[in-house]
Amino acid sequence: MSLIKPLLRAPLSAQFGLLVIVLYILVALFAPVLAPFGETEVVGEGFAPWGGQFLLGTDNLGRDMFSRLVYGARNTLGIAFLTTLLAFAVGGFCGLVAAIRGGWIDQGLSRLVDILMAIPQLIFALLILSVVGTNATSLVLVIALLDATRVFRLSRAVAMTVVVQDFVEAARLRGEGLWWLVSREVLPNAAAPLIAEFGLRFCFVFLFISALSFLGLGIQPPTADWGSMVRDNAVLITFGDISPLLPALAVALITVSVNFVVDWVLHKSSGLKEC
């Protein structure tokens, strides 16, 4: 009840965004049920037209475009979600600790983050991935590490404003340990901006993975992935066919939807009153 009420009152854009997100999640979860063909199955000729047996035609190798789009949701969404979660766990926690402890712990962590952030993200990722090899695990770890630096910055800044409040001082004087301060005193009061950032960061990671895949260093074939699907079928664009743009459209739609929801959450957490 308490969850449904704000949803009904949310602006139309946020409701639309939530609907799209839920749809994507459902598609990702039930991919095998929804997809008429297998993910990597070659079912016909390359570049078959839309309609008939293949709803959205086939790709360059003759795999069903629609099926791959559906499976792509699972792969791209799953990896992006996992990466963002990891980035927040690491970056968020370190940021809170840095803010609470201060002193040399704060200095050490902050300078380390500065060093990591000084190198352009895409180039750094390409560098590490070409060294450690491109598989899903290293992809997740590398992007999570790079994104954790941004999360660290935010969570430290947000926590700083909470840490100076009297109730945190009261908890310190009570003799509370670090874990209590992080989990009970500071995190609940820093949650709103962090949640909003989570949505935004998720989009960035998503786009980043797609970009890496397009460059050939992301999710590796034959696994279906929206970024590499664009690259694989890019040649069709010259013939005026919009099929290669479908995965890009899927990326765009989820990005816009997530941002709609993030805007709404930010607006709510900012305390502005709507009249």
């Binding site: 409040q165 009297d166 109730f167 009261a170 908890a171 004087l173 009970r184 609940p188 009061n189 009153k273």
Partner: protein
């Protein structure tokens, strides 16, 4: 002033609503107000009474999330409710001006004072800049600011709080407005600074013949400033009369209770001279970086006693509390608890040492974690120090809630934001008591509360002391509070102890220089108090110069 003359400001049956928790709530419920030219009207009432809302409405303005739902506001015959923004803009700053509570928060820190001062006059008033600046200097002189020629060239952070408040008053007067709204202009200031600002404001209002709305929760202050007083409560008018008859013969019960609030006194407790003091600070000095904040501060506090530490802001009162709690390690000297030295840093103190000294903060809103329920807030010290769990813990929380006069059934599951300021402060008291301490440090615990609520909190603290025998280190800048509850008094100035003794000794004349200045600066419920005080001080300063 003739009766046939049209009033400057005429508010009729004004209704204003505010939007919070997803619904519209009435804030002002049908108030009438008439203000003649040159008249000063005082608005008093507790927080939430609608004073500020009414003050802003006289400029045709409502805060974000509020709306005017009925009535009219006529300024010099012109209707302001529903007026076009352009029409309002030509009035504001030129004919109606506003002085906010916190001058420090209201000035733009990036611009010089003079630039902010002349902005309205030059842009809307059609006065050229050279003349506007000359007038500004004249105003600074009237408001008795030091260096009137140069002070405008400074930035807001380069002048003191009291000076900034006077600069803001000067700014409000820049275009010789017909009406100035003062919204608690001296509430954030020390009593000694307050005097200067009050005197300056009053002179300036008289010199330029402006009408004024003077908003304050402090009756004694309003009595010095206003010709007539309106008492507001819950968005309604309680009583209205001219200042003298209001002070002499208040009609309504609520007004009478406001008048009686400063009469509370505790029974003085004899001080055991021989026993080991519960808390002793021996010649402690401390500094923030290279800035010394405490110099050889010594104090003793015995079991079950109340030691009041009084001084202006910056006198080192709160630093003394931080020193005792271990948040500010001393550079010299030591803190003894029951004859034993406490480690300087709170991180080196044992759980038991931490438990015995508890703290209550000035602003209850920031002292309670907004994301925790009351039962969690009070329950944490119980489970942390005493190891209580489950039903025993809830039982003890309920007992503590009863002790602070809040119904456990109603408040246990609530969150701090659902409580009023006074209730929040009571929760802070309960949290401190939960640890079963022998010493509670109260850091300005009543400063953020309305007078009636503050009195309730003081009475509660006193009753708890009688029941449990806890000692209080009571830090405050309010002389009335000290007079109400202290057994021993310590007067601080610039990080040093300048006077100490029992309540009786301290409050009996003759006073030492600074103590005397502090006490005489406390506003009294007498419209002539300010005049008398200024006359007396002028006399003594003439004597000194002679």
């Amino acid at each position: 002033m003739t009766m046939s003359e049209k009033p400057l400001l005429e508010i009729r049956d004004l209704h204003i609503e505010g939007h919070y928790q997803d619904a519209w709530h009435p804030l002002i419920k049908g108030i009438d107000l008439t203000l003649q030219r040159g008249e000063v009207l005082g608005l008093i009432g507790e927080s939430g009474a609608g004073k500020s809302t009414l003050g802003l409405a006289s400029m045709g303005y409502v805060r974000d999330g509020c709306r005017i739902t009925g009535g009219s506001v006529r300024f010099d015959g012109q209707e302001l409710v529903g007026a076009k923004p352009e029409a309002l803009r030509t009035l504001r700053g030129l004919r109606i001006a506003y002085v906010a509570q916190s001058a420090a928060a209201s000035f733009n820190p990036a611009h010089r004072l003079i630039d902010q001062h002349v902005e309205t006059a030059v842009r809307n008033g059609g006065i050229d800049r050279v003349r506007a600046e000359a007038e500004a200097v004249e105003l600074y002189r009237v408001l008795r600011l030091p260096n009137p020629e140069q002070i405008g060239q400074r930035y807001p952070h380069q002048v003191s709080g009291g000076q900034l408040q006077r600069v803001m008053t000067a700014m409000a007067m820049a275009c010789h407005p017909d009406l100035i709204i003062f919204d608690e202009p001296t509430t954030a200031l020390d009593v000694t600074t307050q005097i200067e600002v009050l005197a300056a404001i009053r002179d300036a209002v008289k010199t330029y013949g402006s009408a004024a709305l003077y908003i304050s929760h402090d009756l004694a202050v309003v009595a010095q400033m206003a010709d007539r007083i309106m008492v507001l409560r819950h968005g309604k008018l309680v009583e209205e009369a001219d200042t003298r008859s209001m002070l002499d013969a208040p009609q309504q019960d609520y007004t009478k209770s406001l008048w009686a609030v400063r009469s509370f006194r505790t029974e003085p407790k004899p001080c055991p001279q021989q026993a080991t003091p519960l808390l002793e600070v021996r010649k402690a000095s401390a500094s923030y970086g290279h800035q010394p904040v405490l110099q050889e501060v010594s104090l003793k506090l015995h079991r079950g006693q109340t030691l009041a530490v009084i001084g202006e802001s910056g006198s080192g009162k709160s630093s003394t509390a931080r020193l005792i709690t271990g948040l500010l390690p001393p550079t010299a000297g030591q803190v003894l608890y029951d004859g034993e030295a406490l480690p300087a840093d709170y991180r080196q103190r044992s759980k038991e040492q931490l438990r015995r000294v508890q703290m209550i903060y000035q602003i209850p809103d920031t002292a309670l974690n907004p994301r925790q329920r009351i039962v969690d807030i009070i329950g944490r010290p119980l489970s942390f120090y005493l190891g209580l769990k489950g039903q025993a813990l809830r039982q003890r929380v309920a007992e503590l809630l009863e002790m602070i006069e809040l119904d456990p059934a109603l408040y246990m599951e609530r969150q701090p934001r659902e409580l009023s300021g006074g209730q929040k402060q009571r929760i802070c008291i309960a949290r401190a008591l939960a640890a079963e301490p022998q010493l509670i440090i109260c850091d300005e615990v009543t400063s953020a509360l309305d007078q009636l609520v503050a009195e309730g909190v003081l009475k509660l603290l006193n009753r708890i002391q009688q029941q449990l025998g806890v000692a209080y280190l009571f830090i405050t800048h309010d002389v009335a509070t000290v007079r109400a509850i202290a057994d021993e008094v310590l007067v601080m100035q610039r990080g040093q102890v300048v006077d100490h003794g029992s309540r009786e000794a301290i409050f009996t004349p003759p006073h030492r220089d600074y103590t005397g200045l502090l006490f005489s600066s406390e506003p009294e419920m007498d419209p002539d108090w300010l005049d008398r005080l200024l006359a007396k001080r002028a006399l003594t300063s003439t004597v000194q110069t002679v």
